[in-house]
């Protein structure tokens, strides 16, 4: 076709302009890159370059090419019973499978045992769970210390504050993370010398660290799904999806003001698993 409609010529000019935009933006990208780069400018220039090209090509195809409607016949997918029979013949009958039942069984057994043997190394991927979900790094006699620091003293934790502590000198076990809370005088109870409580920091719902403490009503809040735990009542869940209380860490307040663990948590920390009570 050599005859050009005026509309066609206008479209041609537009397409050419769009391609020109691509060229200009591409050059711009080179310059920006050479000058040290700037993400926003790069993004906009790349948008211009790619967009010009894309719009130009679409316009060319839609406006300047024949838009003839093609109608193609559609045969049914699949050749029906004859085709299947024709396939079965070389596949099964020639090989004589129906006469070799025993061999087929044997082959199946051999393949299954080989597959099992080859699948076994999957167990190299991780240690056996064993008892590891039931224990943390806490042992009787270990002192409570902030991550990487010396053992904490009672006078370093003001009333109403929370400190994340680990066994002194060993913060290798993240699941030992414990919240040491100075609750002050317990309402409704005679003031006691030990106004400190310690609970596992790992949420019993899905294992997020329980990070927020609301001082007025002594509530610990897990930011992941908003479980709330009542600190003054054994960290029982108040609301949210958690069911088990945060396990308490047994400890003693020493004469020098430090805290010593009396043992590990009495039950597994973190999210539940099926055999935790077996």
């Amino acid at each position: 076709m050599t005859v050009r409609e005026p509309g066609e010529r206008r479209t041609e000019a537009t397409v050419l302009l769009l391609f020109g935009l691509t060229g200009a933006c591409g050059l711009g990208l080179l310059v920006v890159y050479a000058l040290g780069g700037q993400p926003q400018v790069e993004g906009v220039l790349l948008f211009g370059a790619l967009g010009g090209l894309g719009a130009g090509i679409v316009l060319w195809g839609q406006r300047l090419m024949p838009t003839r409607v093609h109608i193609e016949p559609r045969e049914p997918v699949g050749g029906g019973p004859e085709a299947v029979a024709g396939l079965q013949e070389p596949l099964a009958e020639e090989a004589g499978f129906s006469r070799r039942r025993l061999l087929i069984l044997g082959l199946g057994g051999a393949l299954a045992s080989l597959a099992a043997a080859l699948a076994i190394p999957v167990f190299s991927l991780g240690p056996a769970p064993g008892r590891s979900l039931f224990v943390t790094a806490w042992r009787a006699g270990r002192r409570l210390a902030p991550e990487g620091g010396p053992p904490v003293r009672a006078d370093e934790v003001p009333i109403g504050s929370v400190l994340t502590v680990f066994p002194d000198g060993d913060d290798s076990d993240p699941n030992a993370a414990t919240l040491l809370i100075h609750v002050g005088d317990r309402p409704g109870q005679a003031p006691t010398p030990d106004q400190f409580l310690a609970f596992s920091k790992i949420c019993t719902h899905a294992g997020c660290p329980v990070g927020l403490y609301r001082e007025q009503d002594h509530v610990l809040i897990c930011p992941c799904h908003q479980s709330e735990f009542d600190v003054l009542h054994g960290a029982q869940p108040l609301s949210g999806p958690a069911v088990r209380p945060l396990p308490p860490l047994p400890f003693r307040l020493e004469a020098d003001g430090t805290f010593t663990a009396l043992g590990d948590f009495p039950e597994p920390v973190g999210p539940s698993f099926w055999d935790m009570k077996l």
């Binding site: 890159y33 040290g36 780069g37 993400p39 926003q40 993004g43 906009v44 790349l46 948008f47 790619l50 967009g51 090209l53 894309g54 679409v58 060319w60 195809g61 839609q62 090419m65 838009t67 003839r68 409607v69 093609h70 109608i71 193609e72 016949p73 559609r74 045969e75 997918v77 699949g78 991927l125 991780g126 240690p127 056996a128 769970p129 590891s132 979900l133 994340t164 993240p174 699941n175 719902h205 294992g207 997020c208 660290p209 990070g211 927020l212 930011p223 992941c224 799904h225 908003q226 609301s239 949210g240 999806p241 958690a242 069911v243 999210p271 539940s272 698993f273 099926w274 055999d275 009570k277």
Partner: protein, 461 residues
């Protein structure tokens, strides 16, 4: 036809002499593509994947999948001297020191969000038009698997920067795996290499993210498109379209130009988003620290619904025959698993319900199959409620609601909205159907012929 030397005839000749494929390629060029914007969604998903591969390759040159501690000495001053993982440091280096690195990273992340979104739209189109019916059940299953793989790719990628948020996401996935009765602890330990957080998991997620999962996606996309070529496209009713033909434009040049242009336009949008809109600024979140979580921790949009399910499911942890059913099990595994399985098997469920096992190449209009449309809308409503519930703390904060009240409201909505949506949709479809019946038989049953002037006329049965 005379052997007129056309463009590139020498090269074509050379090609055909060695492969004999000229007629096959010719047939390919003539392949007919029905013309409707909704058929382009799948193509856009493919283009997103191509962009992900290209930007992803760039990122692999700089990323270090290692949890080894290093002291940060780069140009981002607030992080100076802090001990971070080598992975986190490498992502900071990509963001601040590699030229065009931040742009690539942000394009990659934005495109990942688009990728899943476009797949969901494409799947919805296929669902609501009944394109999954015989003979296309296999392609539905493959498309569904591709959606699952895309989400797995997004999740593994989200975990790689080893920042505060990504660690939280991995931890919740670990806890969901741990919650499965009998096999949970083994599964979680094998998958993550022990009790989380582990050093092994970054390297594993990296291999999954850049090799195993993309490999599977490439293979499945190939099979998915291959089946479309073998079975030919479905098409909407109307005009000359019938069950035994395909009406549309040829691959060459019409569709080829449209698709190529669309690829560049998709890339252009991704570039604009990646350039102008900050995403996942991990330097603000800080490095991963098992003892810290930032609030509110918002995941990528397509995992929000699972977060929502975990948030609003009531506290429930029964002990059955001595074994514990963990609180995360039902909302984190059972409900998503059940809904996803139902969606995956929908072609077979629908065939069993309707008894319709005939091949279909003409698409339904959305109201023509009220039960199906209502079910699809109900499922979308369910996921929307869960996704909103995943932001209940943000909503409570921004609109001044009590969190407790919002959580309860979402519980009721999750239970009631899907059935209500089902009934409303069903009735709307029925009303539209009845109106159509009053107006006479649908156009699909009539044969038409093209008039010389380009219009169509009916020719009777």
């Amino acid at each position: 036809m005379s052997a007129r030397p056309g463009p590139a005839s020498g090269a074509l000749r050379w090609f055909d002499d060695r492969t004999g494929l000229a007629p096959v390629v010719r047939a390919g060029l003539r392949k007919v593509f029905p013309d409707h914007w909704s058929f382009l969604l799948g193509e856009i998903a493919l283009f997103c994947f191509v962009i992900l591969i290209l930007t992803g390759i760039f990122l692999t040159f700089f990323y270090v999948p290692s949890a080894a501690p290093v002291s940060y000495e780069g140009p981002y001053a607030p992080m100076h001297g802090r001990e971070v993982s080598a992975a986190y440091e490498s992502v900071l280096r990509i963001s601040f020191e590699t030229k065009a690195g931040l742009l690539m990273r942000q394009i990659h992340h934005w495109t990942a969000l688009l990728f899943v979104a476009v797949i969901v739209l494409h799947l919805s189109r296929v669902f609501f038009t009944g394109a999954f019916r015989r003979p296309r059940e296999l392609n539905w299953l493959m498309g569904f698997t591709l959606l699952a793989l895309a989400m797995a790719l997004g999740f593994t990628g989200y975990s790689l920067p080893d920042d505060l948020l990504s660690g939280t996401g991995a931890r919740i996935a670990y806890s969901a795996a741990l919650s499965i009765p009998f096999v949970g602890p083994w599964l979680a330990f094998l998958g993550f290499g022990g009790e989380i957080p582990t050093e092994a998991f970054l390297a594993r997620f990296y291999v999954l993210h850049i090799m195993l999962l993309p490999g599977l996606v490439i293979a499945l996309i190939g099979a998915h498109i291959g089946l479309v070529v073998l079975q030919k496209h479905t098409q909407y009713k109307g005009g000359p379209a019938r069950e035994d033909n395909v009406v549309g434009r040829a691959f060459w040049p019409g569709q080829a130009f449209l698709s190529t242009g669309l690829f560049f336009l998709t890339a252009a949008i991704a570039a604009l988003l990646g350039g102008l809109f900050q995403i996942n600024p991990i330097w603000l979140f800080g490095p991963f620290d098992a003892a810290i979580v930032s609030s509110p921790a918002q995941p990528d949009w397509y995992v929000g619904w699972r977060d929502g399910a975990l948030r609003i499911f009531p506290p429930f942890e029964p002990t059955v025959l001595g074994s514990t059913i963990p609180a995360a099990f039902i909302p984190g595994i059972v409900i998503p698993g059940a809904v996803f399985t139902a969606v995956a098997l929908w072609p077979f469920i629908e065939a069993a319900l309707t008894g319709d096992r005939e091949p279909h190449h003409l698409l339904d209009r959305i109201w023509e199959h009220p039960g199906r449309t209502a079910t699809g809308v109900a499922i979308l409503a369910f996921f929307s409620v869960l996704t909103l519930a995943g932001g209940n703390d943000v909503l409570a904060f921004s609109f001044g609601f009590e969190l407790e009240f919002l959580t309860n409201a979402f519980r009721w909505l999750a239970l009631l909205l899907p059935p209500v949506a089902w009934i409303v949709t069903w009735r709307l479809c029925r009303a539209r159907l009845r109106e159509g019946e009053r107006r006479g038989p649908p156009a699909a049953g009539r044969a038409v012929r093209r008039r010389p002037d380009g219009g169509f006329e009916e020719v009777g049965e």
